[in-house]
C-alpha cells in the first residue's frame, strides 16, 4: 500500500497553525508565572502588615513627589556624563600623552572607587577644602562624574567600532582630523552608542537613589522619610519600589521605540544586492 502524497499547501498550513497554537500556549504560561509570583508577593505583604488606607492615601502623593526629583537628578547627571565621556573618549584615543594620561587616570580612579564614597566625598570631604555645594549639586556632580567614567569606555569603543576605511576615505578627500571626526566618525559612533546611553540612563534612575544619603529629596529619601517615624517602611518602600519599576519599564519602552526609529531612519538594515 502506498501512502497518498500529502498536499504541500495543506501541510504548510497545518504546520503554521500548530506553530501558532504552541506560541500562544507558551505566552499564556509565561504570563501565568508572572501573575502567580505577583500574587504571592501581595499575599505575603497583606499577611505581614495591616493595610492602613488613610496612611497610604497621605503618603503616596508625598512619595510620588520624589519621582520628579529622581528624573531631574538622572537627567542632569546623564547630560554631564555624556559631556565628560565625550572628552574622556577623545583623551583615551589621543596620541597626546597628556590628554591620554589625564583621561585614563580619570577612568581608573572613578571606576576603582565606590559611587557612594564619591557622593559622600563631594558632600562631606570637599567642604574641608572650602568647597561647599548644595546637596542637589553634589549629587548630580558625583553621579555625572561616575557615569562619565564608565561611558568614556563605551564612547571609546563606539568610536573604534567605526571602520578604519571611513577615516581613510575622509582623509583621502582632504579632510583634516577635526572635520573627519566631527562629520564622519562622530555621527556613526553616536549611533553605535545610543543604546548604551539609554541603558545607562535607566541604570542612573536607580543609582540616583544613592543621593538620598546626602539629603536630596528624591524618591527613596521621601519613602524613608514617610515610613520611618511610624515604623511603616514596608508600605512606603514598596510604593517607592513600584514607582522605580514603572519608571524603568516606561523608559525601556521609550528607548526601544527610539532605537527602532533610528534603525529605520538609518536605512542601513535593508541591504539590496
Amino acid at each position: 500500500m502506498t501512502m497518498p502524497a500529502p498536499q504541500p499547501a495543506a501541510l504548510g498550513l497545518e504546520i503554521q497553525v500548530s506553530d501558532k497554537r504552541r506560541a500562544i500556549a507558551w505566552r499564556l504560561q509565561f504570563m501565568l508565572v508572572w501573575l502567580l509570583i505577583l500574587a504571592g508577593l501581595i499575599a505575603f505583604v497583606l499577611f505581614t502588615i495591616k493595610l492602613n488606607g488613610k496612611f497610604l492615601v497621605t503618603v503616596i502623593p508625598f512619595i510620588l513627589g520624589g519621582a520628579g526629583m529622581t528624573i531631574l537628578v538622572s537627567f542632569f547627571s546623564i547630560a554631564m556624563a555624556i559631556i565628560l565621556a565625550s572628552l574622556g573618549a577623545l583623551g583615551r584615543l589621543s596620541r597626546n600623552p597628556i590628554a591620554n594620561g589625564v583621561a585614563s587616570f580619570y577612568v581608573s580612579l572613578v571606576r576603582g572607587t565606590p559611587l557612594l564614597l564619591q557622593i559622600l566625598f563631594i558632600y562631606l570631604a570637599l567642604p574641608q577644602a572650602g568647597i561647599v555645594l548644595p546637596e542637589l549639586m553634589c549629587g548630580i556632580i558625583a553621579l555625572g562624574f561616575n557615569y562619565g567614567a564608565y561611558m568614556t569606555e563605551i564612547f571609546r569603543a563606539g568610536i573604534q567600532a567605526v571602520p578604519h576605511g571611513q577615516t581613510e576615505a575622509a582623509e583621502s578627500l582632504g579632510m583634516n582630523g577635526r572635520t573627519t571626526f566631527m562629520r564622519i566618525i562622530a555621527p556613526q559612533a553616536f549611533r553605535i552608542v545610543t543604546p548604551a546611553i539609554g541603558n545607562d540612563f535607566i541604570a542612573m534612575l536607580k543609582d540616583s537613589s544613592l543621593v538620598s544619603t546626602i539629603g536630596v529629596q528624591e524618591l527613596l529619601w521621601k519613602a524613608q522619610a514617610a515610613g520611618r517615624p511610624t515604623y511603616q517602611s514596608m508600605q512606603t518602600l514598596i510604593v517607592a519600589a513600584l514607582v522605580y519599576w514603572v519608571m524603568t519599564i516606561v523608559f525601556s519602552y521609550v528607548q526601544g521605540r527610539l532605537e527602532k526609529g533610528m534603525a529605520s531612519a538609518d536605512r542601513g538594515k535593508g541591504s539590496v544586492q
Partner: protein
C-alpha cells in the same frame, strides 16, 4: 628626463625605471592622450616602505603625465597597494618623495608631523582622488551628501555649486536616479560607481584606484570597469592597481609590473602583456594566458 638611479637595499643596482619608461616621451606613443611637451602631473621618487623590519617597497619610482592611465599589476602581497597608498600618504613612505601637480612632500617618518607637513599632505591628497576596494562610502549620508561633503566642508564650495557638480558626475557614472538613496540600499557595483563619482567631485589631478573591483560580485565587475574605461578614454589621469587584465589591455597607456616591492617591468600593455622581458612577469602572466 633624468632616469632615477636607485640602488636596492643590498646595493644591487635597482632597475632604472626612468630608462625603461621614458626613452620615448609618452606623447610620442601613437594614440596617447598626453599632449606633446607636457610636464609630469605626478612623480614618485624612490619610495620605500618598511612594515616593522619587513621591507615591502624597495625604492619604487613612477612618473605620470596628464591624461595617462597607468596600471600596476603584480601578485597579491607584492606591494602594489602599498605603493598606491604611499602616493597620497595614507601610508607614510619610509623614504621617498611624492609630487603631484604643484605639491611636493618628502617623507620623513623620523620627525613628528608638524602642522605645515600635515597641511602639505592634506593638499597632496586634494590633488589625488582615491577609490578603495571596499568603497568606503559614508553610510550615514545619502549618495548626494557623500559626494558634496568634502567639496563643501573642505573646499568651502557653496552647496548649490557642489550639488550641481556632484549631479553631473552622478550622471556620468549613470546613477543620478540614486541621488537620495543611502549607500546600504545600493549594490556593490553601484556603491563603487558612487565612490568614483565622489572622488571626481573633488576634481583631483589624478585618480588612484586600489583594486576597485576585487570586492565585487563577478557579475557587477563589468559596470565598474566600463565607467573606468570611459574615464581613461576621456583623458583622465589614472593609476589603477588591479587584477583585471582586460582593463590593462583596453585602457592602460603603460603597465607597471611589481614583484617583491620593486617594479621589474614597465611598458605599453601590448608589450608587457604579450611579450614580457622579465621572467617573473612571464610567470605571473602565464596563469592568465592559460584561461
Amino acid at each position: 628626463m633624468q632616469p632615477n638611479t636607485l640602488s636596492g637595499p643590498s646595493g644591487s643596482p635597482a632597475l632604472g625605471v626612468g630608462d625603461l619608461v621614458h626613452t620615448m616621451h609618452p606623447a610620442e606613443v601613437p594614440g596617447a592622450l598626453v599632449k606633446p611637451g607636457a610636464e609630469p602631473i605626478l612623480r614618485a621618487t624612490a619610495i620605500q616602505k618598511f612594515f616593522g623590519l619587513n621591507h615591502v617597497l624597495k625604492g619604487c619610482s613612477m612618473t605620470v603625465y596628464p591624461g595617462e592611465t597607468i596600471t600596476i599589476l603584480g601578485r597579491s602581497g607584492s606591494g602594489k597597494s602599498t605603493f598606491l597608498r604611499c602616493l597620497n600618504f595614507l601610508e607614510e613612505p619610509s623614504a621617498g618623495v611624492v609630487e603631484i601637480h604643484d605639491r611636493r612632500v618628502i617623507s620623513n617618518p623620523l620627525a613628528p608631523r608638524s602642522k605645515a607637513v600635515k597641511e602639505d599632505i592634506r593638499n597632496l591628497r586634494l590633488r589625488a582622488g582615491m577609490v578603495f576596494q571596499e568603497f568606503n562610502l559614508f553610510p550615514h549620508l545619502s549618495v548626494i551628501r557623500n559626494l558634496i561633503e568634502a567639496p563643501v566642508h573642505v573646499k568651502h564650495m557653496p552647496v548649490a555649486e557642489a550639488t550641481e557638480l556632484a549631479e553631473s558626475y552622478l550622471e556620468k557614472v549613470g546613477l543620478i536616479e540614486k541621488r537620495n538613496e543611502f549607500p546600504a540600499r545600493l549594490s556593490g557595483g553601484q556603491r563603487q560607481r558612487v565612490a568614483i563619482a565622489r572622488a571626481l567631485t573633488m576634481q583631483p589631478d589624478v585618480l588612484l584606484f586600489d583594486e576597485p573591483t576585487s570586492a565585487l560580485d563577478p557579475s557587477l565587475v563589468g559596470e565598474v570597469l566600463k565607467v573606468m574605461e570611459s574615464l581613461a578614454h576621456e583623458g583622465r589621469t589614472m593609476i589603477v592597481v588591479t587584477h583585471e587584465m582586460s582593463f590593462a589591455k583596453e585602457a592602460a597607456d603603460r603597465v607597471y609590473f611589481m614583484d617583491e616591492g620593486e617594479f621589474v617591468e614597465v611598458g605599453p600593455p601590448e608589450q608587457v602583456l604579450a611579450d614580457p622581458h622579465d621572467e617573473r612577469t612571464r610567470k605571473f602572466l602565464s596563469r592568465f594566458l592559460n584561461i
